[in-house]
């Protein structure tokens, strides 16, 4: 029992509620949200240390032992993602200070931002399937508000689709929960794992597993991603960045959790489906990224490619592949926030998202240009930046698992990622300078600080891969041996 486990969910939630009371005081909102994110970061570092030294930390809410109460479980995988979440959220927030505008600030931008963080953290930490649904909904409702906030035409149009898709997928989630409860009689993830291991994963359970996979794929943008490019290009840059960094990753996390902890008995069915969908996602995403000439669309399709690539690691299901997936997940959260912020700044400066209408930005913005170059290299996995290590391990894992086609698709799409993002770089930053300093639509004042921070993080993550490797390896080992999770949750009590 460790009360620290629920802190990353509680702090932003309570502070968000307090901030709603002081609506007019935007300065207070800004300070409070920065302090909150710092606090979550500190606590997640402490939690990381505790998990590292004394094993998986759990909290049984209300003191009810595992299958009866709601469990909160912090293993290395979850804590790594929470730490990354707070690292990513901070620059997006600072970026929002300068760009989000007075209206959105007055209409509860910061509380909604914190509720989103609370939902994301809760989804990472919870050890109960229904509680996962509740945290998903907390996150989704905040994202509905964030995506439609401001009420521009394109935002409203895209948010209707976004809300409808997510409402329907939540319903499918509930159906899957109902079926799973009827089959196993429990919703605690550890208890589910025990029950399914006892009875064996029959056809009915596998069907429910695939239904759950469909639900999480909808949220993660895996294969069922047709809503994603529109929705992610509608809201302002800071919001799009936090969406691209966090929302799809929660779906990926849920897929990982379910298919390593609960439904791991029929890999020749489930993991093959996961692999095929991962490959299709990468191919279709790459086609989209290469075909478009609008910055926002290119970036949104890059989100999809990364989802397919991370899932390829799960499909191979070897130790190396899982290490690669976790490393790439952490890297991807950071790099997606960075690349969305960079793209948004380019749009802000030139006043258009079309690559054909912008050119030569590097003359007036050398810092921005070089940081975009570093981010582009990191995104496509050029050593020594952070994308490389994950890519190596995932490729190694797919080859070890004899899924050569999957590894090949991953490597080929990496080239297409490089092409698509270099297209942005060359069209946007090279060539004749169209806009003089005076003609620019916006200034980058104060925006380079959060972008620079994320750039430093992605370089550090690449150069310091050794330092983070012990955590990643521990997380992968815990994913491969579910009994660690089960023992931690039940804590020596008899399992009913």
């Amino acid at each position: 029992m460790n009360n620290l486990v629920i802190i990353p969910l509680i702090i932003p939630f309570i502070i968000g509620i307090i901030m709603v009371i002081f609506r007019r005081n935007t300065q207070l909102h800004r300070w409070l949200s920065v302090i909150t994110l710092f606090a979550i970061f500190t606590f997640s570092i402490i939690l990381l240390y505790q998990v590292q030294t004394s094993g998986i930390q759990t909290l049984q809410l209300g003191g009810w032992q595992a299958p009866f109460g709601i469990s909160f479980v912090a293993d290395t995988f979850a804590v790594l993602l929470i730490t990354t979440t707070s690292i990513v959220a901070l620059p997006c927030l600072v970026y929002a200070f300068h760009t989000i505008g007075k209206d959105r600030e007055l209409f509860y931008f910061y509380p909604m931002f914190l509720f989103l963080i609370a939902g994301v953290n809760g989804s990472f930490l919870t050890g109960d399937l229904f509680n996962l649904f509740v945290c998903f909904e907390l996150m989704l409702i905040s994202s509905y508000v964030l995506i439609s906030m401001g009420g521009k035409k394109v935002q409203l149009r895209e948010s209707i689709k976004y809300v409808l898709i997510n409402v329907m997928s939540s319903f499918l989630f509930l159906i899957a929960i109902a079926y799973l409860y009827a089959i196993t009689g429990t919703l605690n993830l550890a208890h589910l794992s025990v029950r399914i291991a006892e009875v064996g994963q029959d056809g009915l359970t596998t069907s429910v597993a695939i239904l759950l996979f469909i639900v999480f794929s909808l949220k993660a943008g895996l294969f069922l991603f047709y809503w994603l490019p529109g929705s992610y290009s509608a809201p302002p840059t800071a919001i799009a960045a936090i969406f691209g960094a966090l929302l799809t990753k929660v779906g990926i996390y849920a897929i990982f959790r379910m298919f390593t902890l609960v439904f791991y008995h029929e890999p020749q069915i489930t993991h093959l489906i996961i692999g095929i969908l991962g490959a299709l996602t990468m191919v279709l995403g790459a086609i989209g990224a290469v075909a478009h000439s609008d910055i926002r669309s290119i970036l949104a399709y890059n989100v999809i490619i990364a989802v397919g690539f991370i899932i390829a690691g799960l499909a191979s299901f070897t130790s190396a592949a899982l290490v690669g997936s976790i490393y790439y997940l952490v890297h991807d959260m950071i790099i997606k926030a960075l690349i969305f912020l960079l793209g948004g700044t380019m749009i802000l400066v030139s006043g258009t998202g079309k690559l054909t209408e912008m050119s030569g930005l590097i003359r007036n913005h050398p810092g921005l240009g070089w940081m975009f170059f570093i981010a582009a290299l990191s995104l496509s996995g050029i050593p020594p930046l952070s994308g490389f290590v994950g890519k190596v391990y995932i490729s190694q894992g797919t080859f070890e698992a004899n899924l050569y086609w999957l590894g090949a698709v991953g490597l080929i799409t990496s080239l297409l990622v490089l092409y698509s993002i270099m297209k942005v770089f060359m069209n946007g930053f090279w060539g004749e300078t169209l806009l003089s300093k005076e003609m620019e639509k916006g200034s980058t004042k104060g925006l380079l600080l959060p972008i620079g921070f994320l750039t430093v993080i992605t370089i550090a993550l690449g150069l310091g891969a050794e330092g983070i490797y012990i955590y990643v390896e521990q997380a992968a080992n815990a994913l491969l041996s579910p009994e660690l999770y089960i023992n931690a949750v039940f804590g020596g009590n008899p399992i009913p």
Binding site: S159, L164, L174
Partner: protein
Amino acid sequence: METLIAILVGILMTIGTYLVLTKSLLRIILGTSIIGHAIHLLILTMGGLKTGGPPLLGLENTSYTDALPQALVLTSIVINFAVTGLFLVLAYRSYQVLGTDNMDQLRGIEDE
């Protein structure tokens, strides 16, 4: 009884799906609401309808009804109401701004 409820769930799902596939935004929202109710019934049914006494410690029964599905449904209903409310507001606002509630006319326009 379970069979009856299962058939009811099927009918409600059919109606809801039909409504979601229509063009009017308001009908779509009503459709999601009806699907939501169907799923709440499904959760109750899948947990098993009343099979024993009420789950209270003071009552000396040999078997008790499972109380968990009701707790789940309660949470789910609250969330569903919140989302439906937000969706209705969103639909009203977009009707004001976009001037239509026909989904066909909400297709993407390239120049935005």
